[in-house]
Amino acid sequence: MSSQLQRHIHDTLADPRLQQAIYTATGRLKDARLAVIADNVLPDYQELRTQANLLKQHAIDHLDYYLEEFQRNVEAHGGTVTYCRDGPEVADFVLSLAKQRGAGLIVKSKSMTTEEIDLNERLGHHGLESVETDLGEYILQLAHERPYHIVAPALHKTRYDVAQILTEKLHAPHDIVIENQTALARSVLRQKFLAADIGISGANFLVADSGAIVLVENEGNARLTTSAPKIHIAVAGIEKVIPRAQDLAVFLKLLARSATGQLLSVYTSFLSGPRRADEIDGPDEFHVVLLDNGRTRLLPNPERRQSLYCIRCGACLNTCPVYRKIGGHSFPWVYSGPIGAIITPQFLGAGHEPGLPFASSLCGACAEVCPVKIDIPKVLLDLRSEVASVKTGRLEKLAFRVFAWLARHPRAYAIGGRLAASLARSGDGAWIRRVPALLNIGPIRAWLSQRDLPPPPPRSFRQLWRQR
């Protein structure tokens, strides 16, 4: 068990203000979702989920076909498609293009995929200024932090934190009024939008039959990123592809509702290629970068492949009792919450953070809310068996072997149970707070650190039954 995971969890649990912030913010998003998927509001919600799951399954099961169709159609509209195996290749593409065009300033809209590959950092090393334009992401960029939540990146920051960041980094007068903080960011970023040479976006969906990308947002920064600069680069994981534009009739009904409880986000952009010859504005160049970065590793196993269906709504985070206590920074990678728990080991290897698949009570709330019906608990269990199989010679494996033996030998099982019971204090039937040092090991100590143990009864059920 990595102590780093445990340490982060401990630190987060020990911070009452943070606990409050995480719980309240996720609670609001959770309740907002419930209100718009209720039976009387969206009667075909379950049917839509099934459709979304089937569409994603079809797209992923035939991914190569749809990627090729997507590329053909992007190119037919005057755009380009570049495949990149990893982060450095994406950075190289952007740097090379920027150099050729003499570009120096980049504006960026929110993209978890670019977080995944630390794109801003890579570009920064080569002297390119790449500015995040989503308010939360902008604040985090100034603070040099990574996102706390897939949809609400600065969930953990208070207005006081933000005031301090803006003062320190922008030399602005200290102001804790949120509207003013937002207005300041708006005016700074407006200048960036209008001066930028390149706009980099992510993509919520890649539409194969149209050769288009879809961007879903509330602020307008993605629209500005992709409409103001002369060059637009969209970076997206290969798994984002969907077969047809009309499939959006299913996905768009689920995405905003699941993420924030809105019927639709404020802006949904359907972008294909550079501006047409007669259009007045829009970029002159449209480049789509398709990223692998390990996604192809999730494809071979049909049970785990569903991890790629994710549309990044964040609903699983908002409903997860574990996330709501430990927050986004306890997770070892940029993706947090239940989805983060299943894709991180698959991308980075189960050995990267072997405790991660076990940091779940398997309550199943995530699977219940996932709009594309990813069976997250099932994948967690599968990952657990992978971790267990590579960890040989451990005490735990021995303990379970003994357990399995006892469970196949009922008399020994019964005797073992009575023996353990007799070692603990019995008598008044009160729940036990402490045990003798001999028994105060590992699991028992962990249990007792948080709650009491039940007193062992004078007779087991077996014994009572026999006496009837």
């Binding site: 309240t24 089937l54 569409l55 079809h58 797209a59 099961d61 190569d64 076909y65 990627l67 509209h77 570049t82 495949y83 290749e89 334009t133 989503d134 604040i139 609400a152 600065a154 969930l155 920051k157 207005r159 933000v162 949120i178 509207e179 937002t182 209008l194 539409v207 039959d209 149209s210 509330n218 602020e219 307008g220 629209r223 500005l224 103001a228 290969i238 077969p243 047809r244 534009a245 009309q246 499939d247 009739a249 019927l263 639709l264 404020v266 802006y267 952009s269 359907f270 972008l271 294909s272 290629g273 501006r275 007669d278 259009e279 007045i280 504005d281 829009g282 449209f286 192809t296 494809l299």
Partner: protein, 211 residues
């Protein structure tokens, strides 16, 4: 080459060969209920007003023009080249710049204007949404840069919802490089979940429905 390598990995993982066309994707049933015009107007109005947008009705095009004129007051506006705005007499208003075809000039105007005025290609009743397709008549930045947005739309362009939109436009890319669905004023709740409007896009939106 990255492309070949990635596609090869994908095919190997899925057990597919390159030439294999998949079966058709699962069908998407687009539902278009029969809803009368007045009901669609009412639904659109309710939805947009719930998002702090405003909706007004004008019987005739020229009434819309008068309404917009009053609404503008002294504010400086930039209007798109939508023919309907001309029909409404909006493009002729004194503080409205219009008929711009130069990207740079339009950008300057949008960056300094108080209000951006557009029409809309479609309107979606069940979500309170405007649908704008980029074209010589409708530039992207008019509904994006100025802090306020007024859209003047004949009410017969109101569709029931997304399903009807995709039934009419199964492939928006055929007609335009940019189709944007605008549902209310720009907003964020990124700081302490406190709602702030008008972050990057317009913080105020008024839709004038005619007819």
């Amino acid at each position: 080459m990255a492309r070949e390598e990635i596609l090869h990995r994908v095919r190997t993982a899925l057990g597919r060969t390159g030439a294999q066309a998949p079966p058709p994707p699962p069908p998407v049933r687009l539902r278009i209920p029969e809803i009368g015009l007045e009901a669609r107007v009412a639904s659109f109005t309710t939805r947009l007003e719930a998002l702090a947008g405003r909706v007004c009705r004008a019987a005739l095009a020229q009434d819309a023009g008068a309404l917009v004129s009053r609404e503008l007051g002294n504010r400086v506006a930039v209007a798109s080249n939508a023919p309907y705005l001309q029909e409404c007499g909006i493009t002729g208003l004194p503080n409205v710049s219009s008929g711009v075809a130069s990207r740079d000039r339009l950008r300057e105007l949008c960056a300094s204007a108080d209000v951006g005025i557009t029409s809309a290609d479609y309107v979606l009743a069940d979500t309170g949404t405007l649908v704008l397709l980029s074209s010589p008549q409708e530039a992207r930045l008019v509904s994006l840069l100025p802090p306020a947005h007024i859209a003047v739309v004949p009410s017969d362009r109101i569709l029931t919802g997304l399903d009807q939109l995709f039934a009419l436009l199964p492939d928006p890319a055929v007609s335009t490089s940019s189709m944007v669905l605008i549902t209310g004023p720009s907003r964020t709740a990124d700081i302490e979940q406190v709602l702030v409007r008008g972050v990057h896009g317009p913080g105020q939106i008024l839709v004038v429905l005619t007819g």
